[in-house]
Subunit: 214 residues, 2 copies
Amino acid sequence: MDSDAIKGHLTGPVIRRLSEYLLILDKLIIEEKEVVSSRELANNYGNNASQVRQDMFHLHHTGAQSHGYETRELRAAIADALGLNVYKRLAILGVGNLGRAIAMHVPFEDYGMKLVAAFDIDKNLSGSSISGVPVYHTDNIQKVIKKEEILLTALCVPAEVAQQSANQVISAGVCGILNYSRTRLKVPKHVAVHYEQIICSFMQLSCQVQHKKS
Amino acid sequence: MDSDAIKGHLTGPVIRRLSEYLLILDKLIIEEKEVVSSRELANNYGNNASQVRQDMFHLHHTGAQSHGYETRELRAAIADALGLNVYKRLAILGVGNLGRAIAMHVPFEDYGMKLVAAFDIDKNLSGSSISGVPVYHTDNIQKVIKKEEILLTALCVPAEVAQQSANQVISAGVCGILNYSRTRLKVPKHVAVHYEQIICSFMQLSCQVQHKKS
DNA sequence: TAGATTGTTAATCGATTAACAATC
DNA sequence: TAGATTGTTAATCGATTAACAATC
């Protein structure tokens, strides 16, 4: 397969946009729209048609006629390029409000992931389930991660225990962490960490709003 | 004040990094570290010293001696540049798990914002409070937003009602929206929208992990 | 055919990194 | 002084935008 070679060339910004196009396409598909032009897609996303076409170019997606892209075909091409056809097994650490929100409302199955476990330090939660997934006590992190062959983890624990939790899941084989805890993590080079500092998004918004006014 | 002129020149990527530096500095300050070098800050954030110094340059922050930056001074300079000294009043729409998580765990007060209201369509929640903030029924959005002079809103409602909710808050005067609902919004030009598509962050992580392996 | 829209290259723009003299 | 580290300019790199021939 040369799709691996293609994927290897996608840069961060392109990957991000492709994933956002995917959501837009899914909405269009539900609306039974069969064809979409680069211009329409750009209007939806908020960029310009040139960039959309450039992104398709990176994707090597040539299945387009000269009157737009087939929504379903494009959806499949993007999903393939992002590797969503190879299901990734996922765990959530911390079943507070945030962990719960993610477990319950993020449609992992539609986008190449499968939530298979959740962990919490609260013993009252052990043995319960959320969104059809068992909640384990944090004592069992290593054992369950290995047994369930979990690759990705969302860290929704307090900052104080985040590094320790990260260490545990990494030593059990996790190689991708989405970090919602308000702290920077030290991890080995083979592990990818994405930081989702909610407060930083608020600051960014706040800062931009202010300029518009003045 | 020329601080406005400075702020106007900060670009998106710079603003984002500055806000992240702020969190790192706060950690260092708690640890009673009084001076930090561009190299140390870069190690914490995960970029390089050159970029850190370039960011300080954009900030016009010259208060540095030739053996590092005073953590407290730098903290203040960044907060000033980001406009965090002018408190922004904030509301959360949707008190589900996500809205609750944000209300309870995001330290707005430390970063120039003040949460003053929450809204939910569930009448059982009306009149209750969360994190010391009253929860109103969505029928009162316009009235309360105006009365409380709310500028920013976090949208934590289901996709189906997101556009409608956005319309309401915008017409009441909100000019910045942090959108956690899985949908694109159509808004007038004077309104800033930041998209936080959680599923897209997972896809990005998943995609990158895959390449590291192959 | 005329019109719409793509695929692709080239031009522009902006962001990151490197380099180094100046400073304490 | 020697060493560490900044401030700032220049060089590099990458991402976005523009342009337009090719296609249906």
